[in-house]
């Protein structure tokens, strides 16, 4: 390929832009329930997000990256024209980055995932042909966009019901909170670790057997639960707080749990959204590295995930902190017991999707989870018109991503080939 170096540089620049955009804006969405329930300060949230987004992208992002890289387009059709694929991926990346920038500045509920998938499908149809798109795979991905909020909603509903039954409606909610919260922490650690071990670590060359994975995940869960227990036991009943609001001390216990779920959420977001942002970068780089042979299975270089993770952290530190502060100030009524149920439900769903290689929208999943907790009579007021806006954003985002990608595709084709 003649423009190999140009492709490489552009891919890294666009990929970094995209990752920056996610860090600046999207991370705040993912962390909204954690920051909004005031279990974490902004500083703590940013720190957790920086570390766990990075870890999520690095440890569990491989499958989703692979889907974006080679799961949507039938690459065999462009075996003789690898540069078509390269500039297509560049166009998709730029389209997604710009659309995301425009949309988040207006507060539209758009998703990185939808934009990227829309863009890749768009360029594939225009640049290669209708048959180049793996429609079956697209069908699975699109249905996962519907299923993921529903699944998160169901998990959120059940989690909150369990919190209610075991803790909130009992006559000794404080003691019961201290008793059961370590168990929930175990659940967080076990589930996230299990999915990551079973599905995520392949690209790092760390293969564990199923039994080993279960044992390791159990160990991770147990370790976290013990750490959580230490923190929970430090909380002493403060009668002054309970005068104003009888559940104030119970919520303090849930605050400990919220720290763990916030980590899981950042991890989940990193594993999915970061991964699909760097997917096109990975596609371009593997094309260039393999000297233009489209079909070759190039191993995913882990430095690409490093690039994505790094970009997110920069976005978070330069701009995301501000968005997160506004989020914290705007959510006024979310208590940690609810925030935990919604966040864990969303994180579990997203991690599961990441393990399966399905690029889904973390934010829409989180909205689904919040609604699920609301259905369990958990949240004092929800604006249901947000749901309508999300459907609208689907209808707009997919064509918008596609059209932008097509425009950039022809531009790049004119200048770069």
């Amino acid at each position: 390929m003649d423009f190999a170096t140009t492709y490489l540089v552009l891919a890294c620049v666009f990929g970094l832009c995209m990752a920056w955009g996610i860090g600046a804006n999207d991370v705040a969405n993912a962390m909204a329930t954690s920051v909004g329930s005031r279990a974490l300060t902004i500083r703590q949230a940013v720190l957790i997000a920086a570390v766990f987004e990075f870890l999520g992208a690095f440890l569990a992002g491989g499958e989703v990256t692979a889907t974006i890289r080679k799961g949507i387009i039938d690459v065999a059709l462009v075996a003789d024209q690898p540069e078509l694929l390269a500039i297509g991926m560049l166009a998709s990346l730029l389209a997604a980055a710009l659309w995301l920038l425009a949309a988040s500045s207006r507060g539209w509920p758009v998703s990185t995932t939808h934009t990227i998938v829309g863009a890749i499908v768009g360029f594939a149809i225009a640049g290669i042909g209708f048959e180049a798109v793996e429609w079956g795979r697209i069908g699975t991905i699109v249905s996962s966009w519907v299923v993921s909020p529903l699944l998160a909603g169901t998990i959120g509903f059940l989690l909150f019901l369990s919190v209610q039954r075991l803790i909130l409606i009992t006559s000794e909610p404080f003691q019961n909170a201290k008793r059961y919260v370590p168990f929930y922490i175990f659940l967080v650690g076990f589930f996230v670790a299990l999915v990551t071990l079973l599905k995520g670590l392949k690209h790092l060359g760390l293969g564990f057997t199923t039994t080993q994975s279960y044992l390791l995940a159990f160990g991770v869960g147990l370790t976290l639960a013990v750490i959580g227990k230490v923190f929970v036991n430090r909380i002493r009943l403060d009668p002054v707080l309970d005068k104003q609001f009888h559940f104030a001390n119970v919520e303090r216990v849930f605050g400990v749990l919220m720290i763990f779920t916030a980590c899981a959420m950042a991890f989940a977001h990193g594993s999915n959204d970061v991964a699909n942002a760097v997917g096109p970068v990975a596609a371009v780089i593997s094309l260039v590295q393999s000297g233009g042979s489209v079909g070759r299975e190039a191993a995913l270089s882990f430095w690409i995930l490093l690039l994505g993770g790094g970009g997110i952290v920069i976005g978070l530190l330069t701009y995301g902190t501000r968005v997160m502060t506004t989020v914290g100030n705007n959510i006024t009524e979310l208590t940690p017991s609810r925030g935990f149920a919604a966040t864990l439900a969303a994180a579990a769903t997203v991690v599961l999707a990441s393990g399966t290689g399905l690029p889904i929208s973390t934010t829409h999943t989180l909205v689904g989870a919040v609604l699920g907790v609301g259905m369990a009579r958990g949240i004092s007021a929800l604006n249901l018109n947000v749901v309508r806006n999300i459907f609208m954003s689907w209808v707009i985002t997919l064509p918008a991503g596609a059209i932008l990608a097509i425009v950039f595709f022809y531009l790049f084709k004119a200048f770069l080939t």
């Binding site: 600046a24 804006n25 705040a28 969405n29 909204a32 329930t33 909004g36 920038l101 988040s104 500045s105 507060g107 539209w108 509920p109 909150f160 209610q164 909130l168 409606i169 009992t170 006559s171 609001f245 009888h246 559940f247 701009y319 501000r322 968005v323 502060t325 506004t326 989020v327 705007n330 959510i331 006024t332 009524e333 979310l334 208590t335 017991s337 934010t363 989180l366 909205v367 919040v370 609604l371 609301g374 369990a376 009579r377 958990g378 949240i379 004092s380 007021a381 929800l382 604006n383 249901l384 018109n385 947000v386 806006n389």
Partner: protein
């Protein structure tokens, strides 16, 4: 790029705290009736007028809160309880304060003298109504805990017992009303007929306060019903 996140938009402005604040104002407003009636009995009209103003401004503050709650509760909002039931409860809370304002306004406007033979009973009767309002306020103060527990369990039982207590106070208030009317009836021939008519009206209105407080309680029970 402006700093906005749409996940925040899904969380509506919950009316729980404002409804409690509204009720706190209502209770403060009604409590002013106690010194008010004392001032009336003593014939201290400048003091009565002062208290009437205090009642008026507390009622205004409650109105402001009520208006704000209504503005922030669009039809698309989803809550664990019916929006209509919640707004109806708020409306009745507000009527309690209105009634207190009406009583003060009428009595000051007409400089109504209190016959000495019913004065003590009247003060006692008014303080029953105030107690009913206080009890309704105590129950409403549990609203945030009810939302927290999802309207289930131990918290519901606590609120139900508060509402039962409120019903008892109201019943007691009814009995006092009968007694007060009888006492007034016994002396009414000696009084100016127009003044007597208005005394009956005041007795009626003070009773309304307890009735309305009880209705706040039963509206709260509506919320508890699943």
């Amino acid at each position: 790029m402006t700093a906005r996140s749409y996940v925040t938009k899904i969380f509506g402005k919950a009316p729980v705290r404002p409804i409690q604040q509204h009720m706190e104002k209502v209770v403060l407003c009604v409590c002013e009736l106690e010194p008010f009636f004392k001032a009336v009995v003593e014939g201290d009209w400048s003091r009565a007028r002062e208290i009437q103003h205090a009642i008026g401004s507390l009622e205004n503050e409650a109105d402001e809160i009520k208006r704000d709650i209504r503005l922030h509760l669009p039809k698309s909002v989803f809550m664990p309880v019916s929006r209509v039931d919640l707004l109806e409860m708020l409306r009745i809370q507000d009527m309690v304060a209105n009634k207190a304002k009406d009583i003060a306004g009428l009595m000051v406007g007409r400089e109504m003298e209190m016959p000495a033979s019913i004065a003590d009973d009247m003060i006692e009767y008014a303080s029953r109504s105030i107690e009913a309002t206080r009890q309704a306020g105590t129950a409403i103060n549990e609203l945030d805990e009810l939302f927290e527990s999802g309207f289930r369990g131990a918290e519901v039982k606590l609120v139900e017992s508060m509402i039962r207590r409120l019903d008892e106070i109201e019943k007691h208030n009814d009995q006092q009303q009968v007694k007060l009317r009888t006492s007034l009836f016994a002396i009414e021939d000696d009084l100016n007929p127009v003044k007597v008519v208005f005394l009956y009206l005041v007795i009626d209105w003070v009773g309304h306060i307890a009735d309305l407080a009880q209705r706040v309680g039963s509206r709260l029970e509506y919320l508890l019903a699943r």
